[in-house]
Symmetry: C2
Subunit: 323 residues, 2 copies
């Protein structure tokens, strides 16, 4: 199918066209490049208007159940929902962690919801790039609420936080986990921290956890003008706290739009994306040169044996690769 | 002075030559480049054998007094000590925070100690590069114990931790500060956390702080095979805990050398340095091209107005700059 007719079907809201379009942007085939660019170019004017929510949390914290609860509420309210996943660990596990569609059975069966598992076998940079483009495709296909899910691994949270409007960290009622989140610097990225499983069996533990976490946050944000993340109790299973959570998400989006900050933020995110894409492409292009591959290892050996200083070696190297 | 005669004087342990050599590597004059490379090349075989210690901590925590206490012990033991500073905040404060030699009066007056304040007005990348080269110059001049000091700001700790054998975090007896360190991810870099001012007035607070911090670390490192940082009490003012601290530093170095890991680590650090230097130089060289400057802003504007997707714009851009 040509990029033009794929774009037409996509803009008409065709689900299969959306699936094919995402497969196209995920493709690493070099001959897919031109088609990909034409497609993105055609749909650009119809992108950027959805609410984008990032959700992170360690495996086992109940992300799927939580997304099911949030998702069914959104669909009831008339939203068209798309769920994308970033999982840099998937190359190891063959994409199984977030790739398993059976995790969200109700949503998977609903035609108003589009679920796309994480592509496996890529670097985080590659996965992040494809996810950003997939967000644009979903928006062009008429999806006006996008959830980007990630497991709490490495730098994927930073990537997701940079492409969404609000970033949510889900955790269990357990003080060890509280500190894990703080330790990994995720708490700093989060707009909200939700303590899940605040239901019949674990309500008291969850309440204690909330008190502990708020105490820790008060200390961390002492003398700090940055807004602290808000701590809330939810139960994805018993569907409590979900309405309050969603009301606040929409309140924040409305406040952003009222101040005129919403489109500005989208533009700034696009500029950041362009900048990092340029750096990555420069390094990719230069390292693919024959001279690069030939000379790098030779100089690295000299550096390793401490016969050449790293800065001198780097300067010599740059001189030989013809840029 | 030619690079050759400067190198000769430096290798003979001449302090003025060391000062001039550091000024040379700090120079941004393009005509200094060749001389710099010749100098580094000549001294390389005489580098890499010192003990390198990184020390971080917020302003006011007592780093200067601590370094004076540690430094005078080292000099008593016959070490030749060099103290270098990385302070990415210095461009703002004109280098005053770590640039003030009067901070360490006893050491500054001692001919067996060489103190070099942080160069002001540079990017962290630039400052880190110059500090790495200054370490090599100090080693070549016969200094066999190097302390690299940094304030607890941004990424400077990561840079310092990557160039030393052991990284020390100094803090006050105050649980807010404990959490600050954890929040900023510094604790993860630290081999030791020292609680300073554990003296007559603050001993009880310091002891409580140690208990709290060890409790937090136990939680953080639960199910983790990585070695936890060790928490120790010191008083830089009353010079308590300094001997124990130094004994452990040397024990660890001896253990590394006995296992043959010391030189391997030096080589790995050099390779990492080479790699990051190559990336930086590639990006610097490419962004200095005329076509880069001319085309970047045009495309950035299109990205900002959301008429061009960031990936498409980046690809178009790379096509125009001739690499």
């Amino acid at each position: 199918m040509s990029a033009k007719s794929l774009a037409e079907k996509l803009l008409a809201g065709n689900r299969r066209a959306l699936g094919r379009a995402i497969t196209l942007v995920e493709s690493t085939r070099t001959d897919a490049g031109l088609q990909k660019d034409q497609l993105l170019q055609t749909i650009m004017p119809r992108t950027g208007q959805s609410v984008r929510l990032g959700i992170s949390g360690s495996p086992g914290v109940g992300k799927s159940t939580f997304i099911e609860s949030v998702g069914s509420k959104l669909i009831e309210q008339g939203y068209k929902l798309a769920i994308l996943a970033i999982d840099p660990s998937s190359p190891k596990t063959k994409g199984s962690i977030l790739g398993d569609k059976t995790r969200m059975q109700d949503l998977a069966a609903d035609q108003r919801c589009f679920i796309r598992p994480s592509p496996a076998g890529r670097s985080l940079g590659g996965v992040a790039r494809r996810t950003r483009e997939s967000i644009l495709l979903c928006e062009a296909a008429g999806y006006n609420f996008i959830i980007v899910e990630t497991v709490g691994v490495g730098q994927s949270e930073v990537a997701v936080a940079g492409m969404v409007d609000q970033f949510i960290y889900l955790q269990l009622p357990n003080s060890g986990d509280d500190l894990q989140g703080i330790k990994k610097g995720i708490i700093e990225l989060a707009d909200s921290i939700l303590i899940n499983k605040a239901d019949s069996d674990h309500l008291n533990a969850a309440k204690r956890s909330k008190v502990d976490l708020e105490l820790a946050l008060n200390l961390l944000y002492k003398n700090n003008t940055v807004e602290k993340p808000k701590v809330q109790l939810v139960s994805a299973k018993e569907k409590t706290g979900i309405d309050t959570f969603l009301d606040e998400v929409f309140e924040k989006i409305t406040a952003l739009k009222d101040k005129g900050d919403f489109s500005h933020r989208r533009s700034q995110q696009a500029i950041e994306w362009f900048k990092s894409e340029v750096s990555e492409l420069v390094l990719e292009t230069v390292s693919a040169k024959k001279a690069f591959r030939e000379n790098y290892l030779t100089l690295e050996k000299e550096v390793e044996s401490m016969t050449l200083s790293p800065t001198t070696a780097a300067k010599q190297f740059i001189g030989t690769i013809g840029i």
